[in-house]
């Protein structure tokens, strides 16, 4: 009888106010879309009578030590929720464990860090790589050569995408040769100059895969300069406004894009829910999609 009398709804704590801190990897337009999702969720809560405030604590430069300093400092401010996009999971993990120890509601977003923390984001980097490989392989008819701009050698999401791309290519399109594989470090200038040089090394290059947001743009610029638009296909990961234009112009063929608006929205939802003592999923895959000229037209 006692069991029947237990109302599980009583486990939910009423919440009227919550202050959240978001720590993305860096100041970048990509995260602006995430922030829009955050704002939308907050507006929804406002209608429910819950006052949510948030701090967008983006490091101005992508520097591991700088981001770690922020995480440490923000833990000390005892926020109601802390959302972190891990620049470097290896070192971030330790600090996030400390956040849990300090009873801070925590969620990781955008880049998967460790199974110990709830995560909302795409988490399908390797699959993205495979998708790109399939797209490019089919377009090239299974022959020719492609170049890779692999981003940063120490960034796990870049590494995973490249791995997926290479594995899939080897499996499904053994006829396609990898002409070059260069680390552009997610830096536009380096991406441009590496793609330019790569186009010289293999003048009949069939395609370029860029494993980060800067790489496809840089590759596209090099392809334009070499007057090989349509002959050297550019496929990449990570969409920012500049990418759309280049897709529209037909320079970039396809991009594996994410629904980052969702990431921001759900991060807020989960953090506030966690404060309300709701259970939240450990892994919410927000999914991605292949963006081409056709999808963009819709």
């Amino acid at each position: 009888a006692a069991a029947a009398g237990f109302d599980q709804a009583a486990l939910i704590k009423p919440v009227t106010k919550a202050n959240l801190i978001f720590i993305p990897k860096v100041v970048h337009p990509w995260y602006d879309v995430v922030e829009q999702g955050v704002k939308f969720a907050i507006a929804e809560y406002k209608k429910e009578g819950i006052e949510v405030t948030y701090t967008w604590d983006a490091p101005p430069t992508a520097d591991i030590d700088q981001q770690n300093r922020r995480i440490e400092t923000d833990i000390g401010r005892n926020p109601d929720g802390l959302a972190v996009s891990c620049l470097d999971p290896a070192t971030n993990t330790q600090l996030l464990k400390e956040a849990l120890k300090n009873k801070v509601n925590l969620i990781t977003f955008d880049t998967f860090c460790d199974a110990a923390f709830p995560f909302v984001g795409h988490r399908k980097d390797e699959e993205d790589g495979r998708t790109a490989a399939n797209y490019l392989g089919a377009k090239l008819g299974g022959k020719g050569s492609v170049g890779l701009l692999v981003g940063s050698l120490t960034a796990p999401n870049h590494v995973a995408r490249v791995k997926g791309f290479k594995d899939e290519l080897a499996k499904k399109y053994p006829g396609i040769k990898i002409a070059f594989e260069q680390p552009d470090n997610d830096n536009l200038e380096q991406a441009v100059s590496m793609a330019e040089s790569g186009l010289q090394a293999t003048p009949d290059l069939g395609g370029i895969y860029g494993a980060n947001a800067s790489a496809p743009i840089g590759a596209a610029r090099a392809v334009i300069a070499a007057k090989r638009v349509g002959k050297t296909l550019v496929v990449g990961a990570g969409d920012i406004p500049e990418t759309y234009q280049l897709i529209e112009d037909g320079v970039i063929s396809a991009i594996t894009a994410q629904r980052q608006w969702e990431i921001g929205y759900w991060a807020v939802r989960y953090l506030v829910s966690a404060k309300q003592n709701h259970t939240i999923p450990m892994d919410h895959a927000t999914g991605g999609f292949l963006m081409t000229k056709e999808t963009l037209a819709k």
């Binding site: 100041v27 040089s197 090394a201 610029r221 300069a225 500049e242």
Partner: protein, 319 residues
């Protein structure tokens, strides 16, 4: 007769210091031409030269600053901020493309002059002043743009980055012209010689009546305007003014100068040296891709080649 003239000329321009590094560059080009058939293609050479130009233009400004015994850490950020301002002039205010370039340079000059005033008149440490300027310029860029590029800049404007009159890319032409002008200024004008004098012995320069502070201010201004020029040319080449564009240009600009024989203590260095240094670094980056050297080994190779290059220079000097 002509022997002595050459000798005279050499000694006049402060001995032919760049010869060692030119040799290193020549060796490298020969090796690459043998190892990769594509290296010597005219298109590839144009690519390498254009890549060298952006950093090269900035490195020339940096050279001036290093010559007076200073350092300019703000060049990259100044390039980024100026490119953004240039892009805004073009896109938001509809300024004529031909006017945008000089206006951007003027803006860069103003940025540099701020550094110059603080270094020359307030006598603050150039390292710290330009470090602070770096942060402030880069910060201002972020504030203005929120991190998004300004684009598209339009096909008319793209000619400055992509055009190839006489088959030579515009940035390469600009780089060459600036190098020639600066070589003339440094070797054949009092302003240029005053720069060497200040770097060699500032106190003595004051006592022989050189307007030291004015020269110092101007040099920082020039460094700023050359940074701005590189920034806006790059924006034109990319058809977008990128907030982060200059970020990676600081270290290469100093490296190109120093590899070319410019002394961090001031008073020593040549335009030829810096130009060679910039070319060497660009050829190295190009060669690494052409030979498709493993990503993991690249940095080791770059370090080793840089070391080798100055060792060649050393052997020359020891003889």
């Amino acid at each position: 007769m002509s022997e002595t003239k050459v000798q005279k000329f050499r000694s006049r321009i402060g001995r032919f210091e760049a010869i060692g590094i030119i040799a290193a560059l020549a060796v490298m080009c020969t090796v690459l031409a043998l190892a990769s058939e594509n290296f010597a293609s005219s298109y590839n050479l144009a690519v390498v030269l254009r890549q060298a130009s952006f950093v090269g233009i900035i490195a020339l400004g940096q050279t001036l600053v290093l010559l007076i015994g200073g350092i300019d850490l703000s060049v990259g950020a100044a390039a980024g901020l100026s490119a953004i301002i240039g892009g805004m002039l073009l896109v938001h205010l509809g300024v004529d493309p031909w006017l945008v370039i000089p206006l951007t340079c003027l803006f860069g000059f103003a940025l540099g002059t701020i550094n110059g005033v603080l270094v020359a008149y307030a006598r603050l440490n150039p390292f710290i002043v330009t470090l602070a300027a770096w942060e402030m310029f880069a910060g201002t860029t972020l504030v203005i743009t929120g991190g998004s590029p300004i684009r598209p800049l339009g096909t008319e404007f793209q000619q400055f980055g992509l055009g190839t009159p006489f088959g030579i890319p515009v940035p390469v032409l600009v780089f060459a012209v600036i190098a020639l002008v600066l070589a003339f200024v440094l070797n054949r004008t009092t302003f240029g010689r005053n720069i060497y004098a200040i770097g060699g012995n500032r106190q003595a320069a004051v006592l022989v009546g050189i307007p030291v502070k004015r020269v110092e201010m101007l040099v920082f201004g020039l460094s700023g305007s050359l940074a701005a020029l590189a920034g806006i040319l790059y924006a034109s080449r990319m058809d977008s003014a990128q907030p982060s564009v200059g970020e990676g240009w600081l270290m290469p600009s100093i490296t190109a100068a120093i590899i070319g024989g410019v002394s961090l203590r001031g008073g020593q260095g040549t335009v030829t040296g810096t130009v060679t240094g910039a070319l060497l670094m660009a050829v190295l980056a190009n060669g690494i891709v052409l030979l498709d050297i493993s990503s993991y080994w690249q940095r080791v190779i770059v370090g080793a080649v840089v070391l080798l290059a100055i060792l060649i220079d050393l052997i020359r000097r020891r003889r």
